[in-house]
């Protein structure tokens, strides 16, 4: 197909529809309003259903119901709205339902602001809801990747019967870039577990996350963790850029990774060799990639670049496990680090080496 110019938010919506998503439940919030607006316009045309829920809580619970009924379904929101969905997300994981949840992050805490931020990283990857659980968290850094990851996200969700989150930010949601919708036949998997009616002779389907016997609950959680092990095995995605003979490796995801590439170019012009590890799956985190580069003699240090006060840096430290120093530089609240300031930071680190 030809390239089209699209806003990130609209691209997400279009990608979802092309991936066979026919149900969307959401509640307005800046900066993701183009997603529901697009869905409201397009879903009725493809026999789907868009419904503006009365709240984010209702939206996520409608998703729970629709997913349990076997639909390919999604919701989207931004930071405060995602906080409200935490109980629901925990339920969806507990009941092993597939769905896609989009968070177009804005500055926090509280009402905060509406400019782009990455300060919901912890919430997304460590679990903002209660209990032991994980979600695959996908962090696109271009509109094209957003489109591709939406498709993959639905497939991963179905494969493991677990929610998948797309973690974007206000900038990715609002910006436009050329994007290509690759022709791809969507084959929705059979969902024999879905509650579509209990025909005589079939076992009943029950969507549930209650296990009143603690041994039963532990067994269930262990089952979930088996899936998480498989995800760690199969679903890690990461881009390494310029890492060969890099002296310092930046780690950055999403919008920050784009800026990191500018920095790398600037640094190169000044004769400084900088690499980039760009986690595409924030969970499962590309631990081995970090370990590998941490073991290379030419790498002297890592620098986590974030639009937050230092969240992903913990996962990097956990991966590198003391092998090399891991630094942090970030801005927050909607402020976006400039390539210049980052380069300054890198120079300081080099002096310290």
């Amino acid at each position: 197909m030809a390239k089209v110019l699209m806003k990130g938010n609209e691209a997400i919506a279009e990608a979802a529809i092309q991936a066979g998503c026919r149900y969307f439940f959401g509640y307005p919030i800046t900066p993701q309003n183009e997603i529901p607006a697009y869905m409201a316009k397009m879903l009725p045309k493809v026999g789907g259903c868009f419904l503006q829920a009365e709240s984010e809580i209702s939206a996520i619970n409608m998703v729970y119901g629709a997913a349990g009924a076997g639909a390919r379904v999604m919701t989207s929101s931004s930071s405060p709205g995602i906080s409200l969905k935490q109980e629901g997300i925990s339920y969806i994981v507990g009941a092993e339902l597939p769905c896609l949840i989009v968070n177009i992050v804005r500055g926090g805490p509280g009402l905060g602001g509406i400019q782009p931020a990455q300060s919901d990283y912890f919430q997304a990857v460590k679990g903002g809801g209660h209990g032991d659980y994980h979600m695959v968290v996908l962090a696109p850094s271009s509109i094209q990747e957003m489109v591709d990851l939406v498709t993959d996200g639905f497939d991963i969700a179905d494969k493991y019967r677990n929610p998948v989150m797309i973690l974007g930010d206000g900038m990715l949601g609002q910006m436009m870039e050329p994007v290509e919708f690759r022709e791809k036949k969507t084959i929705l998997p059979e969902k024999p577990w879905a509650t579509t009616g209990n025909k005589e002779g079939k076992p009943r389907n029950i969507i549930n996350s209650l296990f009143i016997d603690p041994q039963g609950l532990e067994d269930h959680v262990l089952k979930l963790y088996k899936k998480y092990d498989e995800m760690k095995e199969n679903e890690v995605r990461v881009e390494c850029y310029n890492c060969e003979d890099a002296e310092i490796i930046i780690a950055a995801y999403g919008t920050m990774a784009r800026i990191a590439k500018n920095v790398i170019q600037m640094a190169e012009e000044q004769g400084i060799k900088i690499g980039l590890i760009r986690p595409i799956t924030l969970w499962p985190f590309p631990v081995d990639t970090f370990k590998k580069w941490a073991d290379s003699h030419h790498v002297k240090a890592f620098l986590s670049l974030e639009m937050s006060m230092g969240q992903m840096v913990e996962d990097i430290r956990l991966s590198v496990d003391g092998a090399k120093p891991v630094h942090f530089y970030g801005r927050t609240g909607g402020m976006v680090p400039t390539p210049k300031a980052i380069l300054e930071e890198i120079k300081k680190i080099r002096e310290g080496i």
């Binding site: 119901g65 009924a69 629901g88 509650t195 005589e200 209650l210």
Partner: protein, 245 residues
């Protein structure tokens, strides 16, 4: 001899976990009979609440969802939008529906979702051990109203059916009771009608069932039925609150 009363097909064989004399069991039976009589078991999907009826998914012999506390109407909406030709019902307690889930029920009703809601008003939080519900009567002693519910600080008990009946999307609302045979039979009719309304696509249907919680009321089951009759019915008048043609 013919069977004049037997366990409905729409109930599983699992014995109820409810306390002795708890009327949740009676209502389960009525719901199951309605499903049987309408022959819709195979296309029915039920939504269980968080409350004493949390294990309803073990009892109703059809596909079931267990919803988060208060969110059954939203869960049911999700199901029904995906499966408009199926029959979807929710079963909710008064803490679940009238307190934490107030927004969800108001909006499902207002949207006129084609759902059948069974609303168990037992004037208390049964499952968590007897806290005040929004429907607890003035003066009623509960663990969180140890000096009796005060209208001044906690408000009067909420009449959910009357409130929801003001909404356009509602096709049918009736309040019934199960404290004696006559009323159980009326309740049965109402519940069946609430399913029929859905089958006819008319809109949102809800049956509020006045129920007992002998355990947390601190009464024998028989005393509890009398207390319901004497104290609840005067405040919660029985009857149809809304019905559209």
């Amino acid at each position: 001899m013919a069977k004049v009363f037997e366990k409905p097909k729409a109930l599983t064989d699992k014995p109820f976990h409810y306390c002795p004399g708890c009327t949740h069991g009676i209502v389960h039976c009525l719901v199951a009979e309605a499903i049987d009589e309408l022959g819709i078991r195979e296309k029915t999907v039920g939504v269980a609440p968080v409350g004493c009826a949390v294990f309803a998914y073990d009892y109703f012999n059809c596909d079931m969802h267990e919803a988060a506390h208060g969110r059954a109407p939203a869960v049911a909406t999700g199901i029904k939008r995906v499966l408009p030709d199926n029959v979807v019902f929710t079963y909710q307690g008064d803490g679940d529906l009238a307190s934490i889930g107030a927004a969800e029920i108001v909006h499902a009703a207002n949207r006129g979702e084609r759902l059948t809601t069974i609303f168990i008003n037992n004037a208390i939080y049964g499952m968590t051990g007897g806290q005040m519900a929004p429907t607890s009567l003035v003066g009623q002693v509960t663990t969180t109203s140890p000096y009796g519910r005060s209208a001044d600080t906690e408000g009067h008990p909420i009449r959910v059916s009357e409130m929801l009946a003001t909404l356009e999307g509602v096709a049918y609302i009736e309040r019934v009771s199960v404290h004696d045979i006559k009323n159980i039979n009326r309740a049965k009719k109402a519940i069946k009608k609430a399913f029929e309304i859905q089958l006819e696509g008319k809109g949102f249907a809800l049956v509020e069932v006045l129920s007992t919680c002998p355990t947390n009321w601190g009464m024998t089951p028989i005393e509890a039925l009398r207390w319901l009759e004497t104290n609840m019915i005067p405040y919660y008048p029985l009857g149809v609150k809304k019905e559209v043609e």
